[in-house]
Symmetry: none
Subunit: 420 residues, 2 copies
Amino acid sequence: MALIVHKYGGTSMGSTERIRNVAKRVAKWARAGHQMVVVPSAMSGETNRLLGLAKDVSPAVQTPSVTRELDMIACTGEQVSVGLLSLALQAEGMEAVSYSGWQVPIRTDSSYTKARIQSIDDARVRADLAAGRVVVITGFQGVDEDMNITTLGRGGSDTSAVAVAAAMKADECLIYTDVDGVYTTDPRVVPEAKRLNTVSFEEMLEMASLGSKVLQIRSVEFAGKYRVPLRVLSSFTPWDIAIEEEAKSGTLITFEEDEKMEQAVVSGIAFNRDEAKLTVMGVPDRPGIAYGILGKVAEANIDVDVILQNVSHDGKTDFSFTVHRNDYQRTLDLLKSQVVPEMGAEAVIGDTKICKVSIVGIGMRSHAGVASTMFRALSDEGINIQMITTSEIKTSVVIDEKYMELAVRALHKAFGLDAA
Amino acid sequence: MALIVHKYGGTSMGSTERIRNVAKRVAKWARAGHQMVVVPSAMSGETNRLLGLAKDVSPAVQTPSVTRELDMIACTGEQVSVGLLSLALQAEGMEAVSYSGWQVPIRTDSSYTKARIQSIDDARVRADLAAGRVVVITGFQGVDEDMNITTLGRGGSDTSAVAVAAAMKADECLIYTDVDGVYTTDPRVVPEAKRLNTVSFEEMLEMASLGSKVLQIRSVEFAGKYRVPLRVLSSFTPWDIAIEEEAKSGTLITFEEDEKMEQAVVSGIAFNRDEAKLTVMGVPDRPGIAYGILGKVAEANIDVDVILQNVSHDGKTDFSFTVHRNDYQRTLDLLKSQVVPEMGAEAVIGDTKICKVSIVGIGMRSHAGVASTMFRALSDEGINIQMITTSEIKTSVVIDEKYMELAVRALHKAFGLDAA
């Protein structure tokens, strides 16, 4: 008997028929003797419908009092899901009980719409499991110390599931999604992309952060921090597939590095076009430029990704960085109104038509020349590199958005992943 | 400055445009210097949609674990409403904050789908009001001592609003509905029906219990118990109507009896066709007949309304009573299978084609001859009276359903309400 956490995405919960199928799958695991905790997302489309209503009554100003109300509204989608799934499990003859995040409780900070989990009290859930109940917990949400409802941001249900699995020391957390595992890259861009049976936690972290939308990055961080065995697998297999086969399907995210020694240097190619680039031109070159510019940006709660400070010419330099496209206009306004005058800079320019392409692999640590292979492959295709950033297990480049698919295909081939 | 509670029904909250209008109306009251608490219902159709989903995944068996989940699901409709209304108020420039029942908290017993309010802790709401915020609280729901969500049953938002007003000792509770007040009878049946400027709490209680669907009866009971001044008024007046005019519109439910001395003997004519009649025929006449029959009915949790025991003939008597039509078949089965054999009765007959028509008025207490005026008016129309029941402020008759409208019009005229 093991303690297993299942997480089902919005597509898997997309209709009452699908919810009944999820219930049948969970019941199969419970009947096999496992203690089951299930974390479902809102029915697909529901969160957008709710936020659409909110947008209809309120202009887009995002103050804490506005975002508090957005969380009050958005969290109801998951609450409906847990109630429905619990009913469907009862209809399957299981004892089942649902909880909202605040009922568990899942404690978070007060950063509405992007709260972070601080602690989970699992006493109530454990008591239910001991009594033979399947426990269904809302993803995506928690409660702050003043009993305000918070949400964890888009995709937060993955994080909820992993956090619950970590708090309860679950034997495995299975993330059921609409893909059947983690691939060397997006198969829609590179048809030769291969599914990985295992991927290291660190690689998965980079892949998630770089736009492989299989898992929310924070869920991977959580899994790494608490060493939660995490499996990504398809929710589209028939619910009555043999449990032994299902338990081995998909991609397992591992913490055992030595398993990887024989594998490819680069495990996968990640990419995204979620970012935009801003450049402050003609900044007088003196110590403190980075802080002078990015300090203001951080104060406005805007996350910065790739950063590039040019070599100085004639006592002046250019400073570029990327932010999420949703923050682009706000960042541009901030730079123009505050940073340019304070820093004595000349101008600000921006570009939303960029993308980021990355190669990811634990193997890069011990192999020289990986970056140069990457740059040659891009050069061979005539793709100009605008920015570069590197870490121990990944190298990313910012390039013109229109070359994204071409770059991904070229790199997939250059690192031998087509043949994997 | 007064502390005012507004309650808005599902129709008033039926679209984001209407929610913006509700916000404008509430903002008008707040700007006039009042402390405002608002209790909205779910957007119209939402509760039915949610319960439809639940019905889709689960058969109709109503165990406590099923009804617990139904409440988890159904309560989300109001939670979306409070979030949206709070956002709309913020868009109007007000400070506003929303709370679910459990956040206030509104404590109830654990009778899922029909919970009763036990206490309300108003500390948090008072702090918000003192800080100049409009507070928006979900109707229809609360939380039990184990932090399970409960709902109060259909129409429960009226009860929530009155309970909040009572707990906070509000100066007035305004119930905005799709009618503009309480009428002498249903204007769809009697076009001459007149709106009452005031109605006593006791009359309102009778009217509500007798099928005038303006207010949920439990909300009227609450208002009476805690002497909450309650006003029923239209949500369809323009939101920017002068506040002095709005504050006097609709019908005020009063507790001051002496105000009524000069008024009509009968305030209104109520009616419903929700009941069915059952008669146990030929019961041997001995002490304990009523208990022998109605004891079994009560044990089955069936509410009985009008009761009639005939005069005995030849040592046998007939015993009739009415129940809600939804309970008719169950009651009939119970009487046939258990009561008839145990009591040695001859037979059971039932009639679902009945209706109940009532005259209601505080004035009846001090005026003789009211009942005879009623009976004569019905007799003049050739309407046969099947059962009669009286109280200090109402007299009801059970008649053939097909005469209902005729009886209501005749009584409305006989008691001078056409001319009111």
